[in-house]
Symmetry: D2
Subunit: 138 residues, 4 copies
């Protein structure tokens, strides 16, 4: 969807990380990220913060995709579990709406390395819709 792409292009963080928007559907977003030495932790694997950033955005845009056109999306909170080191070359991150209420939308995120079938990180995120904030969109 165009407005997800437009919003994503305004995120300096996603551009810096080199994130690719792979797919956007109603209530589901998939993004990809490549290994980069600029975003590693002390053992040489991708830093949890980079993984969390992209999962957070994938969940946020999944929520945004089911919100009314005049809404903006903001992250309220999320929990991330890191199940294994982020070892690999290309990481796929999905965000999926679990349930959407009037203002709060709960999403689930999963991160996969190099096409593995089991996630190496999972997220449970709470997003909120904002309305009538001049200068705030996306």
């Amino acid at each position: 969807m165009a407005r997800v792409r437009a919003s994503l292009e305004r995120q300096g963080m996603m551009a810096t990380l080199g994130v690719e928007l792979v797919a956007v559907g109603r209530g589901r977003v998939e993004m990809a990220l490549r290994h980069d030495d600029r975003f590693t932790q002390q053992h040489g694997f991708l830093h949890a913060g980079a993984v969390a950033s992209v999962l957070d955005s994938a969940c946020g845009y999944a929520a945004y995709s089911v919100m009314p056109p005049d809404a903006s999306v903001l992250t309220v909170s999320y929990t991330i579990n890191l199940l294994a080191p982020a070892a690999g070359q290309r990481f796929t991150m999905t965000g999926q709406v679990v349930r959407a209420g009037r203002t709060l939308v709960v999403c689930r995120g999963e991160a996969f390395a190099d096409g593995a079938g089991r996630p190496f990180a999972v997220m449970q995120a709470t997003m909120t819709a904002l309305y009538d904030r001049p200068g705030v969109s996306g």
Copy 2:
């Protein structure tokens, strides 16, 4: 402590974000981060992922500071609540050990903008100590 600084210097992510290690004590670490357009979300504020990355590292090193010398530290999971947009020029992030067990250490993180007294983000994190992993240190 020297080993916290040594480990931090091996984190590509922290160097990329320009993170400064402000203080390290036993069970407590403080880091600082400046606003940078490369790390923003779609509304121009610092991306939650950048905030979470630094809080995660502050909590991780707070945990590391109470672990035995031969341990490495890894993030198991964390929950972050974003209480207000990350609006400001300089952000201070603290990590504090709540309780340390044999392998698991629970920490609390708080993020402050421009010297404000109330945090704009809080984290509850679970860290684990790893032993006997050749090639893994810090």
Copy 3:
């Protein structure tokens, strides 16, 4: 505050657990719970669910204490870390507001056994204020 007490008295769960309201201040609530074999887990300690129930209520009422008079309070989500078994006779649970926004209030909960200085469980909770729900109060 009277309305916290009135709401608490309508909670069947708190009556069943035998919860005592120890103190209520603006943004802070303290409750107490006694060990009871009806609420144990398989090793004979208090079940995490009993601990979480009381911490959740303490956080909920801490949030409620800073909400407008016509608001009701509902739990959006919480994260609980269990740092040690709930071993003891009397457990004190505190809920404290970290930051209150227009509709969302973030709280921190801590559980102590028999007057210990360190918590055996900690919670980070997100509460929401509800308005204009006929038949819903407290």
Copy 4:
């Protein structure tokens, strides 16, 4: 599996709540709970603490079902999102292993009311295996 049932029968909390073990498979457990005025919150719905208790046990036993025979299971932490009030007569709670490591097992829990297809609560839980604790089993 017999050992899940044996452990569950030692949980005073599950007996008090009247929890029924519906199904146990490798890495997946389903439990059921009926509405009971003894376990309500102030609006007459089932208290989040009751919901969380059963989801926590479902996740714990799902984790236990993939652990070695000599292990005990303990909850490290969980995050629960309450997506709608627990309104209904019978609640089904499922726990499912997402990924099992050497000592930590991450699970996902979902709670459904009266056979609804969408969950009214979701959980992301971290469980740990304990070994060699005399007097601790299950």
